[in-house]
């Protein structure tokens, strides 16, 4: 089983991403949606990367998704699994897969978000098999 055995580097929020990290502290995964073109994007920006509109709004994600790709690196206790997870809302995000047997993972597998404490910062969204 991969549990989190390393110290997680704390994210350093920017002013425009503070709501994301505040919500993370409350167990909510936020995305950004454009008020002009309607596209959802990740990582969240103040401006829409699809149309440059400044009218972006926070959207609470379901926290469910599927594994797009993954790789386990490191030996024994220090091993961890980097992954891209495609959320039900359509965007794909970089994350870690935890609480799982890396050898049993598969692309397309359903996963759900879990927030993991960091070293002196807000918790970060990782995923475990649903």
């Amino acid at each position: 089983m991969t549990t989190v055995n390393r110290k997680i580097i704390a994210p350093r929020p920017h002013p425009e991403t503070e709501p994301f990290w505040l919500a993370a502290g409350e167990g909510q995964l936020l995305l950004k949606k454009c008020g002009d073109c309607g596209e959802v994007h990740y990582y969240p920006r103040a401006i829409c990367p699809h149309c440059l509109s400044g009218r972006t709004e926070w959207l609470t994600a379901s926290g469910r998704g599927t594994i797009y790709s993954y790789s386990t690196m490191g030996k024994a206790e220090s091993a961890y699994t980097l992954a891209y997870v495609t959320l039900d809302e359509g965007v794909t995000m970089l994350t870690n897969l935890i609480d799982c047997d890396p050898a049993a993972l598969a692309i397309g597998q359903s996963v759900s978000v879990v927030f993991v404490p960091t070293e002196g910062g807000p918790p970060v969204p990782m995923f475990r098999p649903a």
């Binding site: 790709s69 690196m73 992954a83 891209y84």
Partner: protein
């Protein structure tokens, strides 16, 4: 304005060292500059343009211009990681075509091995907008390429054995290179049985970590034709970035899918015309994806294309990285772009090792991926021709 035949590579030099315990980074840049000048038959006073990337110490081009005592009227420190020298050759050709300089020097050098440095090009900048959304998950160079390999296997049925053939081909070439770090010929079994680094990539799927560097000199046609060297023309070039695209992630292709067609269009040639390919080989998967994206085979067929020695000089259809590449020879400063250009120049001049020299090599490609294949990277492609 096309750069086709507006500039020629007149000098090329690869530093013989692979561990620079007693040489500074600045000294390495100067050593390779001198080597390329000697190869071209030019002197320092002839240089009026200078190009380097983030491997050079200090402030862009300024610090190295000062150290080497250059007097230039054109500079470019375009940074794209390991593909930068390929972009620099293209930019030098553009600058020469525009009359901004006549003789451009491009250098790359570093000593990550002696310094026992990490693979990261530099410490993460907290102002970079993606860092807070990535750094906590510990992305490394190895697993960012491994995720591309995993997805390729899932979509197209590519196997570890097929990827291994890329290392096998590189090792067949490296045995003839006395400066190569890994000169022993390896088998598919040895590659897939080497320790797992970031699954599904094994240790032998990875390039070497080495010190050293290289330089090329790009000059206008009149100058090239006045020198006593074979003529290697820049025929076309392309460059392109690719990234996580705000969440629209697609790991099945690289930015070479854009830089390659641009380079072929400018050169007016097709992949089937290419006699020799220098392909960035930070990992075996980097080569496989580029082969597809550059049009040497269809998307998804890279695994079958590289199998059974198809990349080995004298055996296969497309000889690649005949110096042993980054996989076996040299990956100085953790950047493989310069050595890709240099071996292409050797092949076009007929100066590659006799065991790997491609006969009648009149058209070559050098293509590279700088950065991380699974997140953000920049591809650069140049097509070079012998006249």
């Amino acid at each position: 304005m096309s750069i086709k035949r507006k500039a020629y590579i007149v000098g090329a030099y690869e530093h013989p060292t692979r561990k620079a315990d007693t040489l500074s980074v600045a000294r390495l840049h100067a050593d390779v500059a001198k080597g390329a000048l000697d190869d071209a038959g030019l002197t320092k006073a002839d240089i009026d343009g200078y190009f380097c990337a983030g491997d050079a110490p200090g402030l862009g081009t300024a610090s190295m211009v000062e150290y080497m005592g250059l007097k230039v009227r054109h500079m470019d420190s375009t940074e794209s990681g390991g593909s930068a020298p390929i972009l620099h050759v293209a930019h030098a050709a553009q600058a020469i075509a525009a009359g901004k300089c006549n003789v451009a020097l491009v250098t790359l050098a570093g000593r990550p091995r002696a310094a026992a440095a990490s693979l990261a090009l530099r410490p993460p900048d907290p102002d970079t907008p993606d860092v807070q959304f990535e750094l906590p998950f510990a992305p490394a160079t190895q697993n960012l390429y491994a995720m591309v390999a995993r997805r390729h296997m899932h979509e197209f049925g590519t196997t570890s054995e097929q990827l291994a053939w890329i290392k096998v081909a590189a090792s067949h070439h490296a045995q003839h290179n006395p400066n190569a770090m890994l000169r022993q010929v390896v088998t598919v079994e040895e590659v897939v049985n080497s320790p797992m680094v970031a699954d599904p990539l094994h240790r032998l799927d990875c390039c070497v970590v080495s010190d050293g560097g290289g330089a090329v000199i790009v000059a206008r046609p009149e100058i090239a034709k006045s020198l006593n060297r074979p003529l290697v023309a820049v025929l076309g070039a392309g460059e392109a970035p690719k990234n996580a695209a705000a969440g629209k992630v697609d790991l099945t292709f690289s930015a070479a899918a854009w830089s390659g067609p641009a380079a072929f269009a400018e050169a007016g040639v097709a992949p089937t015309d290419i006699r020799y390919a220098s392909l960035y080989d930070s990992f075996t998967i980097t080569v496989l994806v580029q082969l597809e994206d550059l049009g040497f085979c269809r998307k998804g067929e890279g695994g079958r294309f590289v199998a059974d020695g198809n990349l080995i000089a004298g055996i296969g259809r497309l000889p690649f990285n005949t110096d042993g590449g980054g996989l076996c020879n040299n990956h100085p400063a953790n950047r493989g772009g310069m050595t890709k250009i240099i071996e292409a120049v050797r092949q076009l001049r007929g100066e590659a090792h006799e065991k790997v020299q491609v006969r009648n090599c009149d058209l070559a490609i050098a293509s590279g991926i700088g950065g991380a294949l699974a997140s953000r990277h920049v591809a650069g492609t140049v097509i070079l021709g012998r006249e």
